[in-house]
Amino acid sequence: MSIKKIAPTLVAAAVATVVLTACQAQETKSGSAASGKAMAARTAQSGPPPLAPLGPPPIPPDNKQTPAKIELGKILFFDPRIGGDASTGCSTCHEPDQGWAWAEDFSRGYPGTVHWRNSQTIINSAYYGRLFWAGSVPSLEKQAPSAAKGGVAGNGENDIMESRLALIPGYRKRFKEVFGTEWPLIGDAWRAIAAFERTLVQRDTPLDKYLLGDKSALSEEQVRGMALFNGKAGCIQCHNGELASDQDYHNIGVPPNKRWEEDGLAQVTFRFELYAKGMTEEGYRTTKADPGFYFRGKNKWDKGKFRTPSLRYTAYTAPYMHNGVFYTMEEVVDFYNRGGFDEEGRTTAYPENKSKLIKPLGLTDEEKEDLVAFLEAFSGEEILMEKPPMPDYAPLFTKAELEAAQEAK
């Protein structure tokens, strides 16, 4: 029974791989980022693209990978001086030992604030055409500054961050080596960070091994789970292709995080986000749930939609969903099994936009266990990394130089 269901999928996988490859080639030529919608359209006739082994990440032609650039990006990624008060760098909310994310519902945010969405893992972020839960930026090069400058994230500004780099000899040397500039430019910092992030990929999960032919890579339970994933549970409708994400935006019924009702600091941020992202006055007054993808085009039918996240590396990235309301995969599966309702029967604040793809699944306890087991196959070994040593500040001028300048005044 389950084998019959898998068989056509494998055929489809072969076909889809070709389609995807062609698709990528064309996009590389036109220089545009991968579009989930375009891919979906191309494969509409054959159904969603099947799960596939993860290939190498796309590298933008204008930001090639080099070892020196990657090393520089790594140091910058861990440097808290890339932020407002020199306490909050990329790794502050994307901690390697917290799944390169933050293990709370909302990201920890800048000191004195809390974020309003879940911090997403850096692992495999290289594959997304657009970043952030509402896809607000088109590249990792654009994601880094957006996070580093956001008021509830890094809260840095270009001038102070770039000035710090100028006062760190180790960076002056590295930036000159990598980018050929006399002084570090903040724009190049984002490029280096993006290059580093493109090395944080995981392509050797049990699922990859299985799809590449190692049938022993998945347990029987996981194989049954995969059949459910592709069939009865319908996960494949959105979690498809190499990344297990269609990179499209859906309202799946995730309920608002209750923290907005219970936590004053979270309420501050919630209103700030509405204000900062440009709601109407009435929208600002009355909105009580994250409108998500709505912010991109301000279309009411997009309220409550978020970009499908990859399922890869999720063993390490709990809690789940854009607002981190579920702490275990069991909860996630139960949520989908109920047709997009949590255990209290709560669902999205924008039910009118809830995806038609989300329906009660009627999974048995055993099926749920199989599905959860299969979801574990999306994760390989935990990717850990030690924080590299940070280069120190040093004065740019000597006292003698300053005295000479004073004399020359």
């Binding site: 008060d85 309420q267 501050v268 009580k288 004073q406 005044k409």
Partner: protein
Amino acid sequence: MVVRVSTGRALLAATLGVGLVVTAQAASYPDIGPLPQLKIDKAKAALGKRLFFDKRLSGDAGIACSDCHVPEKAYASKEALSPGYPGNGHFRNASSLVNTAHKNIWNWDGRIGTNLNDMTREMITEDYIMNMDMRIMQERMKQDPLYVKMFKEAGYGEPSNGSVRKAIPEYLKTLTSTGAPFDKGTMSASAKRGMKLFKGKAGCIQCHNGPLLTDQKPHNTGVPENFDVFLDPMNHQAFMAFAMFQGIPNYRNMKRDPGYFNITLEKKDMGKFITPSLRELKYSAPYMHNGMIKTLPDVVEFYNNGGGKDSNKSKKLKPLGLSANEKKDLVAFLESLSGDPLTGPEYVWDQPYPAEYPVIENWTQVRN
């Protein structure tokens, strides 16, 4: 006629080797005297007072206005250089805010020439000062029931950025000198002699005139650079960020504070700073834009020597040839310009701020 007399005196003085070029005539300059009274809206000023001492007005909620503008220091910085935002330092001495509401130009380089509303915005949002996204600030205020009440009582409606920028200036109006011997007519004999020197031989009145004792104009007096600005990367990064944002050419290689040059980008303005008020100097040491002069006798000595070394130095400055007693008298006069400390609860918010933002109950039902 007046000009001719001045010139004649100057020539005579020069011949005699006294060194003072222009014997200033009080009539030529706005007279020094008491400050005008300002009308103050009590509810707005009370709100401004709470805001002024509230760390939640900075990005990481780490510093308040009062951390750089310290009440005991006549609302100037404690050290030569202002501490700046956490994570960086600063490159100038925070000016005293006493009587700031009487001024018409703000910052040592005069980059705000409109009003305290703009100045408040500048201080709160500038990344090396308070680094606050004012949209977050507004929502913080709205989350504090006492603010909600105080904004309403002040007639502002709900807390907003715009009202913060009005309430703080209203509070600053309350920081007006009071009780200075100069204003009360209780100057010592020495101070009176000092005032004469101030207006005459010492020539201070040329720039330090009017009720604020400042012409509010830029001058280069040759104050030496504070090397701590450039030797401490924490301060230097604040300077560099400032200079980059202001569009100063070759700012990374700059080894001096450009001052008013920042406004015009013209060489003639290099190293000029807006004349500070001389009121409340008793509290606000160290002096000058970079805190390079520690005491009032040192300041007087600095001018007695004709100021510092700078090719762009004001022609008004020449060695003064003051005697030891004259210098003492001048210091006594300067001290007589300081009034009562503005450190009581009338000026300082002394209630604790809530450690957490209380939750708005029934949140899904009430309007934001």
